[in-house]
């Protein structure tokens, strides 16, 4: 059984039909990279997976549980699905350390000193242990994004979602964030990554999905997609960005 299974997922914003029947599976430990032109529904798909957007139709099964079931406790489910955003969204009134300890204490009811130990462990993992006392505005974009990754990881999720996490960064800061994600992939984390970083997709992705106009057009290994795309639209997209 797949860790994550998406069945005929639709999302409409009023009259706008953004997702038109997405079917995909993600295996445990797999790194799935989603590429496609802007407006193709990549981010919406990602945001549906932890129900930041409510799907209009379809099922999302995480480890055998249908998380689109209205009776489900979505707060419990979200602890199992980490997400990192394009705009970092660190809590601006809290230090790097407190950004990580707050959800541990509030959601998981972990005592303060233990939460701090966990937070430091994950800050070390992203190479920012020495910035624990810094506020977000005292950190560079790349550092903020690494703290955001540490914050999501500290909740011990089974899947990590990355929503164009390097798009808002200055070019010289992209690498430090991608390096953290590569390490995470090597550690065996299940990841779904929406990105425009084709180098990353090629190097780290187990599978690449090309989306356009609310549908999955084509999927395959990075090798298949990048060197031998089957569909005209995939070819066109890749020729424009590579």
């Amino acid at each position: 059984m797949s860790l994550l299974e998406i069945i005929d997922l639709h999302k409409k914003f009023g009259k706008l039909h953004v997702l038109k029947g997405i079917n995909m599976n993600v295996e445990k430990g797999e790194v799935v990279v989603i590429i496609g032109p802007s407006g193709s529904g990549k981010s919406t798909l990602l945001r549906c997976i932890n129900r930041l957007e409510e799907p209009t139709q379809g099922k999302i099964i995480l480890d055998g549980i249908d998380i689109t079931d209205p009776k489900i406790n979505i707060n419990k489910i979200r602890q199992r699905i980490g997400i990192v955003f394009q705009q970092f969204n660190l809590f601006s009134h809290l230090t790097a350390l407190e950004n990580i300890t707050l959800p541990l204490r509030v959601v998981k009811k972990i005592p303060k000193d233990e939460a701090e130990k966990i937070a430091l462990k994950f800050l070390r993992k992203v190479g920012l242990e020495d910035k624990a006392d810094h506020y977000p505005h005292q950190l560079s974009g790349g550092q903020q994004q690494r703290v955001a990754i540490a914050r999501a990881l500290a909740m011990n999720p089974e899947v990590m979602l990355f929503d164009e996490v390097t798009s808002a960064l200055d070019p010289e800061l992209v690498k430090e964030v991608l390096d953290v994600m590569k390490q995470l992939a090597r550690d065996g984390m299940t990841m779904i990554v929406v990105t425009h970083e084709m180098g990353f997709a090629r190097e780290v992705g187990d599978r690449v999905i090309f989306m356009d106009n609310g549908k999955i057009v084509e999927e395959g290994t990075p090798e298949e997609i990048f060197t031998n795309p089957k569909h005209e639209r995939t070819r066109k997209f890749l020729s424009m960005i590579l």
């Binding site: 930041l52 955003f85 705009q87 601006s92």
Partner: protein, 224 residues
């Protein structure tokens, strides 16, 4: 002698303790009212933005009613009106109640703007980590909202402190009423009333300085 010539410096010195006491009462009523107003305003401010038509309608009606009617009328409704409905309150309680209800409406608008000033991504990030809506509000959105609206709250406190002079009509011995009572006894208006104005200034000037300071500090922080 004409005009300010009526100012009696000996009388002024003699009434200083009374005026100071009145100022203390004014400060007390304003502080209590702003605290209750803050609670009322926070709840109402949240009610104005949640997706619930009943709470929206209720809070909008409250805010519009209070902001569209004079405080003096509101005070008289609470003090003279409520007893006819069987609710008899001592003047102090009626005064604090009226001021709290009044400031609650203005604070609700400040809180609403404050919450809306916090980027949506903050609520989203909090929810994505498994926090409930209430937890996300309590630990993430409201602390940032309060930081942003501190100057506006300070201004509301200053406005309320001045408006509390209207409590003099229901026989509360606050600063303005003290001045009126001294006038009634001495038949000298200039001395007590200028004294009253002076005491208001001594309270509002430092407060507005504090607000300016807070505003500048937050302005420097906004780059986050």
């Amino acid at each position: 002698m004409v005009g300010i010539g009526q100012f009696d410096i000996d009388l002024f010195i003699r009434i200083l303790p009374d005026l100071a006491y009145g100022a203390l009462i004014t400060l007390k009523f304003t502080t209590f009212s702003i605290l209750f107003g803050l609670i009322l305003g926070t709840i109402t401010g949240i009610f104005r933005i949640v997706r619930n038509p009943i709470l929206n309608a209720f809070s909008t009606a409250y805010v519009e009613f209070i902001r569209g009617t004079p405080l003096l009328v509101q005070i008289m409704i609470v003090y003279y009106g409520l007893p006819e409905a069987g609710i008899r309150l001592p003047p102090e309680l009626a005064g604090i109640l009226a001021l709290s209800i009044n400031s609650g409406a203005y604070i609700a608008e400040i809180i609403r703007a404050g919450i809306q000033s916090v980027p949506k991504g903050q609520m989203e990030a909090a929810r994505s980590l498994g926090m409930t809506y209430v937890q996300a509000m309590r630990y993430v959105v409201l602390p940032q909202a309060f930081r942003n609206i501190l100057p506006a709250l300070g201004n509301e406190f200053i406005a309320l402190l001045k408006d509390s002079s209207l409590l003099s009509v229901i026989a509360i011995a606050e600063l303005t009423r003290m001045g009126m009572q001294i006038y009634a006894v001495t038949f000298n208006a200039w001395t007590p009333l200028l004294g009253v104005a002076l005491f208001y200034l001594m309270m509002t000037l430092p407060l507005s300085r504090l607000v300016d300071y807070a505003q500048r500090r937050i302005g420097g922080h906004e780059s986050a």
